[in-house]
Symmetry: D2
């Protein structure tokens, strides 16, 4: 039976791996800090002390890491994936990275005979937990078909979008829309408060209005309870906006609004709010 | 039977007045240029050659004008409302203006014994035509109740939001969210095209995604057909964003994102796209 | 001998009036709060308890007020200028206002037979004190020539720039450049500190470099001593940037950078720094 | 006698190398395309067909390249510097890059026993030609002293600013100030034209005013003659602003104004103006 390695057990990765385990997929896991793997190990996952060790024992590897730099580390380091990859292995990178990085890693993988899918996910903590993520996938159709049973366990739908880089591209577009919605809604909410409306009235009226993206309704309780425990950490969205800016630079596109939103997130991060949920922008735009 | 004066017969006003007429409300109409009133006159509306004449014969007046300056002209000019108002008349201003302007006009009206509601509407051409507008109303509850039967004819719901200015305040918040959504979605759409996605694939994927406000789906055909005939003219949205900036200035609020979006609309208007639908931002962010 | 009325005795006006007094110009002064006039009265200026009283006794009136709204109040109020103006009087408005406001007031003045110059000044506290201001003047050449002897007392140079509004126009351009320089220099200074350079090294290197406007060198001691006593209050510059935004709106010009800088000043004002010198942006961009 | 290799013979590098040659410094040159080296070869420089060949014959190497990626290529490629470096060689990189890149290359160089200075220059075509550049240098004082005689030939002053990265850091700050000045001045100039001032009057008044950086006066003839032949190509400034954004991201600094200016340059580049002088922003902000 196909053995899966899963590397990167943060907020998202830990839930995704757990769903694989529940579906009785043979699983070997690795994370920079072992404590995040404990629950999975108790429930039957095998522990690998390095990425190299993980991939040596597996047929397919999923990586779910927070920045392109960490993906590079996991791949290139002494005990990294590159050192352990067998020819023909399928590497599915679900990290949110810039498209040109996915393209570069796909080429790098191909140069050592490894197949590569960029397969970032749309959805944060709760969909990850429920197995309701959306996979956005770039690569070959054959590789997509091979990985699809696992996407189906961890998600509710998976889209094959074309060649390598296309998964990461679509992911960036979606996160950009989410970031913009969050930032502009928060700024508007604060203006409404300054106009004299109670916060609850504003949330009732504006969150249900068709000018507001439905996804924001999911944050209502965070604003009401002033509790910003992270589902999607603010600093990760800031990083995603930075990847958008890099991609726009590479593609020769001016994006004044994306960059303005990036700096609103930067101000919040500079104030020390980076580890909170992205809805904590509300505390920054005070 | 209560006679209604309706002043301002543009894209919105002409549809609203027609719905009153269809409901057999006795109606007297005025517009700066008479040709826009012809259809209404044919269908039974009385014509008034000045605002003064209109209000002298009516018990309630609705105004639906495009800028605060035009509202002032209609009120203060020689043959304006002020010259004709009887004590106790109810003035319902459905123009989109800044809240402090509504407050000022309410005070002005009170000083000559006239009651005032700021009652701007959410919704553009099609809802106006179908009588499905949303009225956002500031003033006294008693005046709101008196006007409500007419709101019910022209709209599907009317919200009483508090004292004068609150209707205009909520309207600005909603238009701000719409403007931001349009501007950021368009910028994102153009990035997606530069990434190599076909426009149709992007519209399919992104318009149905919960990160996108449902209202934008109504613009899909405009993008696909490259036809930007106006439902909500771009220049009016630019004006609304300018009112937001003024209001933020008055309330001592920094709004970097609202101002950035304002300038994206300004660039489009500077390129001569002001009379097209606001979705024509797509032609500006090329 | 020609008698001069001077209305508005703030940071700038008090110094300007004092220079007229030192030059033995017969002077009648007015200010909303009398205490700011005490020094001038002691030194020989006559006190007028209202603008009306001031202008009734004078041949030329200078106004030096902080916003267009205050100019309107001083003109239109019961005991305002309009109530006291004699035909043929010359009104020199040195307030920083938007050009369309100057044009409007010039028309208003003309309608009651009063001549009008918009004559804002370039230069803040120290040049005002030393009589080294620069007058930027719009109106007729004959009126300019009549006022020039007084410009020469209060300033080192006066430019006749064309019809009414042109003085205010040039003033806005200069203040816009100053605001932009201050805001971008401060942001750059803070980046330099984050790079690890000591503040003093940055100030030494960057203030003397040809990429930096010479005027900023005058703020060096404020940064070094962390003392932001006002020469040019931050809130006034914010107001000027708001006038720029209004003017750009009227002239159909997109100005993304001016608006971005406006919001940086707005953030500082929102934090309560408005009464400090505009160099206190440094405390806001922390 | 010490032999110098000079790699990168663009607008700047070709003039710098020529000055070394005129000062009778033994010189070996390389460029991606040989034609740019012809004049130097005629005047006595030796040609190297690869970076490797150049460095094998030299004691000190200067690189003057347009992006960090090209520096990496010149270093890491098969026939690159790394393949030819002798232990103890001094590498002086005068390219404008981000500080963290300089730090990384310094470490990389150290790992193979090569000494490294980041030594970008302030000044464009004309100062390069006249030998009046300003060198901004990071590294060890001993290495700086060794390179100083060559800095003195190519420049009028050289600043030792501290450890590796400090030269690149100061360079970015200066270019950021220049970019901001150019962008905000251009936007202001266009507003002034819309106000009705002739371009020549604006240039006369504003370029000589202390709110404007002296360096901009050097662009006056470009605006007057509508001739934007490149001294400092617009696309390079856009790249520098991108490096600023990357550096701010790394240092956790929000920089809304730097990012707004970056996008103004991006719009100009997107319109095809990238190869013109950066003053061609005037054609973009039309």
């Amino acid at each position: 039976m196909t053995k899966i390695a899963f590397i990167g057990l943060g907020i998202m990765g830990s839930r995704m791996a757990l769903n694989l385990l529940k579906a009785e997929v043979p699983l070997i896991v690795h994370n920079r800090t072992k404590d995040k793997a404990n629950e999975l190990i108790e429930k039957g996952a095998e522990w690998a002390s390095t990425p190299k060790e993980a991939i040596e024992k597996a047929d397919i590897v999923f990586t779910m890491l927070s920045t392109p730099q960490i993906v590079e580390d996991v791949y290139y380091s002494d005990q990294g994936l590159k050192a352990g990859f067998k020819k023909g292995t399928l590497w599915v990178d679900s990290s949110t990275v810039n498209p040109s990085f996915s393209e570069k890693m796909a080429e790098e993988a191909a140069s050592i005979g490894v197949r590569f899918l960029d397969a970032p996910v749309s959805g944060s903590l709760v969909p990850a937990e429920k197995g309701e993520l959306i996979f956005l996938v770039g690569g070959t159709k054959a590789d997509f078909d091979e990985a699809k049973p696992y996407f189906d366990i961890m998600g509710k739908v998976s889209h094959f979008l074309g060649e390598n880089g296309k998964g990461s591209s679509m992911k960036l577009l979606i996160n950009l829309l989410l970031a913009q919605s969050m930032a502009t809604f928060t700024e508007t909410l604060r203006l409404g408060e300054a106009m004299g409306f109670p916060q609850t009235q504003l949330l009732e009226t504006l969150l249900n209005h068709p000018v507001t993206p439905p996804i924001l309704a999911g944050k209502k309780s965070k604003w009401i309870n002033d509790d910003y425990s992270p589902e999607f950490p603010l600093k990760h969205m800031h990083k995603d906006l930075h990847l958008v800016a890099e991609t726009a630079f590479e593609l020769n596109r001016a994006m004044p609004l994306a960059n303005a939103a990036k700096e609103v997130f930067a101000q919040a991060k500079q104030k020390g709010l980076g580890d909170l949920d992205l809805s904590a922008l509300y505390k920054s735009i005070e």
